[in-house]
């Protein structure tokens, strides 16, 4: 699963992103720690194709990572909603989850803020 230009253009219009066309890490570049709830709502309520779901889940994970990174005091009411979204779209999300889990890394300073939660989530599923 990957994000095509067509999907990016549609998601940009839906979310109001200003895209110049050369950005390569769309989800990372447009991640916004202040819009996690809004992105979750879009994923829950909009009629999206598989590619679009993959794109919005990419964006949610990157944004939530940024939120976790910004402070140690995060209201974790968002995580159950994200976990439910992952449950509902596990096939679509699996590649993303493996990436964020960073299994090959052992050094704490090399992990993303969201990595421990992703690892725990995946461990519970097996």
């Amino acid at each position: 699963m990957y994000i095509t230009t067509k999907t990016i253009i549609k998601m940009n219009a839906l979310l109001g992103f200003s895209w110049e066309g050369f950005e390569q890490d769309w989800a990372i570049e447009f991640a916004d720690l202040n819009r996690v709830e809004e992105f979750i709502l879009v994923a829950q309520t909009q009629s999206l194709t598989s590619e679009e779901k993959f794109a919005i889940i990419s964006l949610i994970l990157a944004s939530y990572d940024r939120l976790l990174d910004s402070t140690e005091e995060v209201e974790n009411h968002l995580w159950p909603q994200i976990a439910q979204l992952l449950d509902d779209n596990f096939e679509i999300s699996n590649d993303l989850l493996q990436y964020w889990a960073q299994w090959e890394d052992e050094r704490d300073d090399n992990l993303f803020a969201i990595t421990p939660m992703i690892r725990e989530y995946l461990a519970k599923r097996t």
């Binding site: 390569q24 890490d25 990372i28």
Partner: protein, 255 residues
């Protein structure tokens, strides 16, 4: 002497004599941090020379290994691409995983080579300063210890500082990775020397205060664009997306 790094996860399963360069009979390490430091005694000149010769041999053998290894990997990649241009699509996940691990190993070998080069360079300095044991040995050692102790030749590529830059666009993260990990199938920039890229990012950190920025790439900089059809092209800029601690991501781009 107990190796103070013996419990480190990467040390488990490795030789317990790493603290003494695998030569615990001839080498003494009083605190487990630096066996060459214990050579700083009356016979330091001779010992340093022997150490230098040993380091030189190590560098030579690692260079040989690396050249052979890199050549073999490139040959395999080119052969696969020649016979099956769509191999990125066709290779199963497990094969991609193995391929990624090989690429990681290649990056490790490169970092190790850099470390040995640094060691070799400093051994040369040490031998030169102490050559023939001319002058007061204590003063010479005093001159050496400062710069050697404070010198950090390799940038630690931490995720907190460099974000996704090397995890997605780094050395060894080829077409397999750029497809599955970035999640985007468009042309993707790739750094071919993580240390050079890390130094470029650090060197331009002052430019990150205003937000995302595209900085012209120096001529000959080790980077490329991997096109969706498997061909390569030359980037013109390096794009950096600032975080408070460094970058969220950075990659070569053609504008």
């Amino acid at each position: 002497m107990v190796d103070i790094a013996a419990e480190h996860p990467r040390q488990i399963g490795e030789t317990p004599y790493g603290y003494a360069g695998n030569n615990p009979v001839n080498r003494i390490d009083s605190d487990g941090n630096c066996w060459p430091c214990d050579l700083m005694g009356p016979t330091a000149g001779v010992s340093a020379y022997l150490l230098y010769q040993e380091a030189k041999e190590s560098v030579r053998s690692v260079f040989g290994l690396r050249t052979y290894y890199q050549g073999a990997i490139d040959k395999v990649n080119n052969t696969i691409h020649k016979h099956d241009p769509g191999y990125v699509e066709n290779v199963p996940a497990k094969a991609r995983e193995v391929h990624d691990k090989i690429m990681d190993l290649r990056a490790d070998i490169k970092a190790y080579t850099g470390l040995l080069q640094w060691g070799s360079a400093n051994m040369t300095l040490m031998t030169t300063v102490m050559g023939g044991l001319e002058g007061p040995l204590g003063n010479s050692l005093g001159t050496i210890r400062g710069p050697v102790d404070g010198y950090s030749p390799i940038v630690l590529l931490s995720g907190k500082r460099f974000g996704h830059a090397f995890k997605t666009h780094g050395e060894g993260r080829d077409q397999f990775s750029t497809k599955t990990r970035s999640g985007i199938r468009n042309a993707t920039g790739q750094f071919l020397d993580n240390q050079a890229a890390a130094n470029f990012i650090i060197g331009n950190s002052a430019n990150l205060k205003k937000g995302p920025i595209n900085i012209p790439m120096p001529e000959g900089f080790p980077a490329r664009i991997v096109n969706p059809d498997g061909t390569f092209s030359t980037p013109t800029h390096i794009r950096m997306i600032p975080s408070g601690k460094g970058v969220w991501t950075a990659y070569p781009v053609k504008l």
